[in-house]
Amino acid sequence: METNATDTFELSEEARAEIDRVVPRYPEIRSAALPVLYIVQGEKGYLSNEAIEWVSARLELEPINIYELVTFYPMLLREPTGKRHVKVCRTLSCALNGAYRVCDRFREAFDCELDEVSPDGAVTVEYVECIASCHTAPVVQIDEELYHNVDEDRTEELIQMIRSETKSGS
C-alpha cells in the first residue's frame, strides 16, 4: 500500500468532526472502528485501500486491523454500488412467500447480475439474510428504507420508483 495515503486522503470537515465526536466516546479507541468506517463509507460510498489506511492511522492501528473488518462484515463495501442498493431478503419466511421471484424480477428489470452494478449504474441488487420483518414477507431494503409485502405489483412499483429517481441523476 502507499505509504502516504493518509496525507492525500480527502474527507470533508463534517465527516472529520463527526469522527472526532464519536471516537472519544469509547473507552478503547479500537471500538470506534465500525462507526468510523461507516462515516467514511457514508461519504465515499465504499472503502478504498486509502480509506482503510486513513482509518487505521486515525485509530492508531495497523491497516490489517481495519482490512480484516472490511473483508469480514457484509455491510462494509470494497467497491461502489449502483445509485440504489437493493437488498432482497432471501431467508426462509421471505423465500416461502416468493422472495426468489422478486429478486429475479429486479435483476431482469435492470439487466444485472447479482451483487454487480447494473449497466446503467442505477442499482446493485443483492440478497440479504433475514432482516427481521418476517411477518411482512417478502421484504426488500432499498438503501436505508425497508419495503414490506413486496408482491408482484409492489415489485413493479419499486422498479418504476428507482427508474424515475435514478434518471434525474441523484
Binding site: E28, S31, L34, L59, E68, M75, S93, C130, C134
Partner: protein
Amino acid sequence: MPHPKERRLLLSHADEPGYTGSYEDYTARGGYKTLEAAIRREPAEIKKEVLDANIRGRGGALFPAGRKWGFLDPNSDKPVYLICNADESEPGTFKDRQLIHKDPHQLIEGMMISAYATGTKLAFIYIRGEMFGGARILEEAIEKARANNLVGENILGSGYSCDLIVHRGAGSYICGEETGLIESLEGKRPYPRLKPPFFPAAKGLYMCPTIVNNVETLCQVKHAVELGGKEYAKIGVPNCTGTRIWSLSGHVNNPGYFEVEGGAYTFGDLIYDMGGGLREGRSLLGFIPGGSSTKVIKYDQRYRGKLQDGTEVDWGVEDIPLDCDGCNYFGSSSGSAAVMVMDDTTDVVMALANLNAFYAHESCGQCTPCREGSLWLKKITHRMIAGEAREEDADLLKSIADQVEGRTICAHGEAVAWPVQGFILRFRDEFIDYARRQARERAAREQETTAAVA
C-alpha cells in the same frame, strides 16, 4: 389491534392509536416512573426483584437474567458494562424490531434500571447494521432521555451516572452470539470466545465484567421491577413467567407478533386463531418453533408421557403450550419464540437448502467443523435442488450435521446442525422420494435424448 388472546405488557402502547413512542407519549403513560423509584433503592434490591421475577432470556437461550446478573463478582474493582443485544437476526424473529421502533423509551428505561442494578457506568445497545431506522430512533430517544436527566450524569439527582451508546453492527449474524458481539464491539472480527474462561460476567468487554441481555429481556426488567419480582412471577407459568412475544410468519393468513401470557395458550391457538390459520385448501406440514436454528416440528408428532412436574399429557403439536419448555417434549426448543409455519405445498428440500445457505453464509470461519461442515451441507442441498439429488443424501446430511454439533467454540455449530438433523429426522422419506423422483426424471430425459439420436 391486539388479538383478544394477547396480554400486552411490553407492547401495551405499541399499537395504540395516536401513540408515537415519543418521550412525551411515554411519560404521559407513566414512563420512567419505575426508573425514578428504582434509583432511590439499593441496587441489590433491584437485583433481587429481577431474580424473583425469573425472567428467562428472550434472545433464545432462555437463561434467567437474574442469575446471569448474579455471576458478577461483587468484589471486582473493574468497571461493569451492560450491553443490550439488539442484533436481532435469528431467521423468523422480528419482535425486537417492534420494541425498538414502537416504544424505544421502554427499552431505555429497562436498560437504565438494569445498569443501575448491576453498577454499570457505560452501557451499549448493539443494533443490527441493517436497522438504520431503529438506530436513528434510539439515538434520538437517548438524546431526549439525556436532556431530561434520565441518561448521563447524576441521573435524577441520585448521584448515579451512566452513559448509553448506540453501536451499529455491520451485517453479521454471529454478532448476536454474546461473545462474538463483545469482540465486534471491541472493533474486531466477531469471533466468539471460548467459555470458560470468557464468560462475559467475568471476562467480557475489555476483559471486564459484562452483562449482555436481549432487547425483550431488558424491557421485561422494567415491568418486573415495576410490579415487583414476586408479583411479576405470578403472570404466566413457573417455566415461563411474564409474557412472551411470539413472531409468527410463513404460510399463515395473519402473520404478526403476538404477546401472550406465558403458557396461557397453545401453538394451535397461535397458528389457527391469532395467526388466522392456513391458506384456503392448505394443511399444516410443520413449523419451526423458535427461530430457524431450532428443529422443525412435524404436523403428526405426538407426545404421550410425563412433563417435568409429573403431569401426564397426551399432546399433538397444536397442544404445545406457548411457554418456554413445551417444545422440548417435541425434540425442539422455543428459542427466540419465532414460529415459521410451512403448509403442505412446501418443498422441504428447498426449505432446508435455504437454511443451510444461511448458516454457511453466517459461519464466522473460526472453527473447522462449522466452517467446512456448513459449506458441505449447503453444497449438498444446493446440488439436490439443482436436480442431482441422491438417495443417500439424507443420511449424508445427517452424518455431517452430527459431526459439527458440539465441536465448536460457540453455538453456531448447533445452529448449523439442528435444522439438518430436524428435517432429516422428520422428513427422511420425503428427501429419499425427492431423489428417486429426480432419478426417474433424469432417466426419462436420457431415454428421450437416446431416442432422438437414434
